[in-house]
Symmetry: C2
Subunit: 244 residues, 2 copies
DNA sequence: GCCTGCGTTGAGGTCAGACCACAAGTATAC
DNA sequence: GTATACTTGTGGTCTGACCTCAACGCAGGC
């Protein structure tokens, strides 16, 4: 009698789907931005139910590897690497992340990234950075536009660092921080000074002065934190937090 | 008659579930390790189908916030904070992460974490760290046991850093690195020397010498990387790593 | 007494197929 | 010629039946 189960590939269907798609990505069949087959068809191909297929896709979508668009199709993520949008928020709820901790993480990561960018940056990065700085000066009258170029500038530095993992991490933190901020009032920071600082950072990176780039980035972010009212770190002696 | 469409807040069911559970966590109804109601029952409570509920749970499970155990139940994650286990692996497939990049990220993060731990560590952390160091010296004959205490030691430092976000990130990287390594041969590193280094790190942290802790941690990790054969990065001919 | 088997129970996992909702393109009415 | 309505393709949700797994407990054998 044929045993009802046996067969080796008995792993959960979810992982079966994930691994399949993963291998398609690894062997180049699927590129970022590509569309995968419609669910019904793909399910038939993989010889599993549509429900199971969807579970697997949902899994990958949660981690930001796939992007599903209702009524249109399912695609491999493109854009900059990043963990699932909501991941930090959810984990924050679970482990009690504080905003100052996000800032701290960001400062540490981004100043190191700036240093790496100074060591490894290429001409294409310099060009792109210079452009964004220029845009910032030009957008001095429009906070919204300014912010866009601010974000782009930092993203380019991440790319220039040559380490996509670190880039993914700060991308995740930054976006969490960002949509935490947009819930509050539109802070009106001193854009001229901010643009000025970005320019200095750019110059340090371009001059391959990694230590200086690190320092400037740190200053810049500390200032940004302060001007956003997200003051104070931990301040030991004063805090009575009984920990545990 | 079947309820026509627009009933009310038509947000995707998935997010409906996620937000519900999230609020249960935030208001303290659900604690790490707690079990949520059985799917059939919970679905009835939320007035959605079991399928949709499962989608939402799957989403949270993918990000490491929930843990599902077939035949047993679904639980809120406990243990140290960490992004979804597979997240790095999948993103790596998509964005071409290299092993040296993981090491680099780890070194940067963990040396900064060691510095923070030196500034903020508490007695309970010192005690736990000392214990693990002792265990390492005691497990000199058993590589497997040694590794366990090695991991625990590093995890305690993460906690002592007082920044759960950074802790979550290195936890994720470390575990990815770990199960990448266990696929290769069991490297027999010099455990005595390794234990020795851990002890020095511990001392620096305990003495609140943050700069020294940072430096020692960096050395330790560089050595670990080397001894694992995961040699150096983008070694072009222009390797003037004069910086630092 | 203690161990072994096997059935029961409760939980998650999978399936099939019908139907809903959304986005885009296409045809039709004015 | 433009605006509205229809059609099509694709993801989203619902039902309800059935499968698999883990834990527990009772019974039989040593």
């Amino acid at each position: 009698m044929p045993r009802t189960k046996q067969d080796e590939p008995n792993t959960h269907r979810t992982m079966q789907v994930v691994n399949h798609i993963r291998s398609l990505i690894e062997n180049g069949t699927l590129q970022p931005g590509d569309k995968i087959p419609p669910e019904r068809e793909f399910a038939r191909t993989l010889k599993i139910s549509r429900a199971s297929l969807r579970t697997g896709i949902g899994y990958m979508a949660a981690m930001g590897v796939m992007k599903v668009r209702h009524g249109v199709g399912t695609f491999v993520a493109d854009g900059p690497p990043e963990f699932g949008k909501a991941s930090l928020g959810l984990m924050g709820a679970l482990h009690g992340f504080q905003t100052w901790q996000m800032f701290e993480a960001r400062i540490i990561l981004e100043s190191n990234i700036a240093a790496l960018a100074a060591e490894r940056g290429k001409d294409e990065h310099y060009t792109a950075m210079a452009e964004e700085v220029a845009e910032m000066f030009a957008a001095m009258e429009s906070p919204a536009d300014f912010l866009i170029h601010d974000l782009l500038f930092h993203r380019i530095i991440s790319q220039a660092s040559g380490n996509p993992i670190l880039a993914a991490v700060i991308e995740t933190i930054t976006s969490a921080l960002y949509d935490k901020r947009r819930k509050t009032v539109e802070r009106s920071i001193d854009m001229r000074e901010s643009a000025e600082m970005h320019r200095e950072i750019y110059r340090a990176i371009r001059a391959r002065k990694s230590q200086e780039a690190r320092k400037l980035m740190e200053e810049h972010l500390r200032m940004a934190q302060t001007s956003q009212g997200m003051e104070r770190p931990p301040d030991r002696k004063a805090v009575l937090v009984a920990s545990r």
